[in-house]
Symmetry: C2
Subunit: 335 residues, 2 copies
C-alpha cells in the first residue's frame, strides 16, 4: 500500500491527454450515413481520411478539445490548480491549443514538437439531436515522449488524471505507465477515464490488470464502457464486479444521470436540466471535472456527483467541450 505524501502538492490535478483542436459543424443524419460514420462514436482516422471528411463537412468552428484537457478546463474554471501534459506540433492549431489551455489558467509546459505530423484535430459532426460523431486524427498527440515525462510534476499533484484514448498509441501509453508509477511512489491518487468502448476492446486486459493491482483510485466510465470492461450487460452487476477493486467508481448514464460507489458508499444523481441539448461533446469530460473537483476538495460523494451533473449540463447546452458560462457561479449552491 502506498503511503500518503506528507508534502502539500503544487497541483490539485495533473492530466495526461490528447492535445486536440475540435473542428465542429452541424450535420444532418443523412450525411453521417453517407460518410459511413458510426453515429455517436469516436473513430480514429488517418490524415487522408481526415481531409476527406473535412471536405464533406459544412462550415465549421474550431474550439480546443481533448478529453482530459476539457476536464482540466472545467476544473480550473471551478478553481482547481491544474497542469496538463500533451503533445502539440509547431503549427497554428498547436498555438491555438496551447493558448486556450494556458488562458484557462492551466500550466502547460510540454515542449512543442517540430514538423510533421500536425497538431491533432477531431472532426465532429453534430446532428440535430445534439449527438456528436467524432473522427480523430491523432497527429502529433501520439508522439508524446515517455522519456521526457517530468516525474516531479506528477509527484507534485494530488491526483494524476489519465485519458483512456491516449492509452492506444504506444509512446504515450509508456508515458502514462511511468506517470502511474511516479504518482503511486509519491503517494498520490490515480484517476482514469476509460474514454470509449473501442479502447477497452483493444486494451481491456491492461485496464483490468491495473485495476486488479490497485493502481487506479478513481475510475470514470459510462455504462457502455462499464459493460465492455466487466463483460456484464446488467448495470448493477457491472458495478458489483468492479466496486471491490476500485476505491471510487463513477459511471455516467447520459440522461439517466450518474452513479458512484466509493468505499462501499453508493450515491446517484439525476441529470441536471437543460433547455435544449445543442452538442453533447464533452459531457463526460465535464462530468469528470465537477466530480474530481469535489474529490480534491474533500466533498461528499453526493456533492461530487451533483457538481459533475451541473458541469455536464453546462457543456451540452452549447457547441464545444470547453465551458462558456461561469462554472463557479453555476455550482455555488452546491459548495
Amino acid at each position: 500500500m502506498t503511503q500518503p505524501s506528507t508534502t502539500t502538492p503544487r497541483f490539485d490535478v495533473v492530466a495526461i491527454g490528447n492535445a486536440i483542436v475540435d473542428v465542429m459543424a452541424p450535420a444532418h443524419d443523412d450525411l453521417i450515413t453517407a460518410l459511413g460514420l458510426a453515429k455517436g462514436g469516436m473513430t480514429l482516422v488517418d490524415e487522408t481520411r481526415a481531409h476527406e471528411l473535412y471536405a464533406a463537412m459544412g462550415p465549421a468552428r474550431e474550439i480546443s478539445g481533448g478529453s482530459a484537457a476539457n476536464t482540466l478546463a472545467g476544473m480550473a474554471a471551478l478553481g482547481a490548480s491544474c497542469g496538463f501534459i500533451g503533445q502539440v506540433s509547431d503549427d497554428q492549431l498547436g498555438e491555438v491549443f496551447a493558448h486556450d489551455i494556458r488562458a484557462g489558467g492551466i500550466a502547460f509546459d510540454t515542449p512543442v514538437r517540430a514538423g510533421q505530423p500536425t497538431t491533432a484535430r477531431c472532426l465532429i459532426f453534430v446532428t440535430p439531436d445534439g449527438q456528436r460523431t467524432m473522427n480523430t486524427f491523432l497527429g502529433a498527440s501520439q508522439f508524446l515522449p515517455a522519456e521526457e515525462l517530468d516525474e516531479s510534476v506528477i509527484a507534485d499533484a494530488a491526483v494524476l488524471y489519465l485519458e483512456g484514448y491516449l492509452w492506444d498509441p504506444e509512446e504515450p501509453r509508456r508515458a502514462m505507465r511511468r506517470a502511474i508509477g511516479a504518482a503511486r511512489a509519491a503517494g498520490r491518487k490515480v484517476a482514469f477515464t476509460l474514454s470509449d468502448a473501442f479502447v477497452i476492446a483493444r486494451h481491456g486486459d491492461d485496464f483490468r490488470a491495473l485495476i486488479a493491482a490497485g493502481e487506479i483510485d478513481i475510475l470514470f466510465a459510462n455504462e457502455h464502457e462499464l459493460a465492455a470492461l466487466t463483460g456484464k450487460q446488467d448495470f448493477h452487476e457491472g458495478i458489483a464486479a468492479l466496486e471491490q477493486h476500485v476505491p471510487t467508481l463513477v459511471v455516467t448514464r447520459s440522461e439517466q444521470g450518474a452513479y458512484a460507489v466509493s468505499h462501499g458508499e453508493h450515491a446517484r444523481v439525476a441529470a441536471a436540466p437543460v433547455d435544449r441539448v445543442v452538442d453533447t461533446t464533452g459531457a463526460g469530460d465535464l462530468f469528470a471535472a465537477g466530480f474530481l473537483y469535489g474529490q480534491v476538495r474533500g466533498l461528499s460523494l453526493e456533492t461530487c456527483l451533483g457538481l459533475g451533473a451541473v458541469c455536464a449540463a453546462e457543456i451540452i447546452a452549447h457547441y464545444g467541450a470547453r465551458p462558456e458560462a461561469d462554472l463557479r457561479e453555476l455550482v455555488a449552491d452546491l459548495l
Copy 2:
C-alpha cells in the same frame, strides 16, 4: 451611362474582401481598458501586437470571418450564387477559411499564397453587453494581387460587392479599382460597404470621388460612417447629401433598425427582436446579406430591409459572424 449586360450572369454576387479567421473570446470591460483598446471599434495591428493581445485573451474559438465573406455566407445561405476573391496563406488558418467558405457553397478560387505573412486573423474581445472590439492582423489578406484578378469572373456576376476595409492596403485597392472597371464595362452593379470610420478618415476622398463619378450603385454605411463621409452630423442631412449620387443607399442604425433610399423611394425597418444580444460581430455584414439578396431577387425596398433585419438579428444572438440557424427558414414569410 453603362449599358445593362444582356447575358445572364453565373453569379448573383462576387465579393472582394479580407480573408480572415476570427479568434473570439468573452472579455470584461476592464480588460478592454487595461489593453488600451478602442471598445466597439476595429484597429489594425501588426503581428507583434497580435501576439500580445492573443496572450492576454481568454480561451477562444476560431470561426471564419471577414466582412464581405460573412455577407456572402449569409447570401449563399439564403440561396444566392456567390463567389469570393481574397487572399489566404498556405497555413492551417488559410485552410480553415477556404474550407468554411467553400462548405457554404461559395466559389473561392484565389490561389493560396506561400510563406509569410500568415493568414489574416481578427482578435475579437466580446464584452458582456455583446459589443465586439476587433483587432485585425491583415497578414496575407493585404497581398491580394491586382494583376491576377480574373475580370471575367467580375463580369459574370450581377453585383460586385466590395469591402471598405480592404481599400486600405494598396495592392487590394488596385484590385478593387480594376474590378469596378470590369463590372461597369460589363454592365453590372457595384455595391460597396464603407466598413469603418477609420477607412473613411484615410480614404474618404477616394470614396467621394467614386460616388460622384457614379461608380457605386448600392452603398452600405452605418450612421457613423454616413456622418464621416458626408460631414453631416444630422442623420437626415447625411442621407440628403448622398441620395442624389447613390442609386441605392442603405444606412444601419444598430438597435434603431435601418433606413434605405433608392431612386427617391424611402423606407425604414425596425431592428428585429433578439432574446439576448450575445455578440454583435457581423451584424452589419449580415444586414447587407439580407438586403443584397432581396436586391438580386428584385424584391421591394421594404422587403430588402426586412431581410437585412432578420439576418442581422440571427447573427447577434450567437458567437461568430457566420449564420448558424437556417436563414431561409427565418426569412420564409418575407419572401
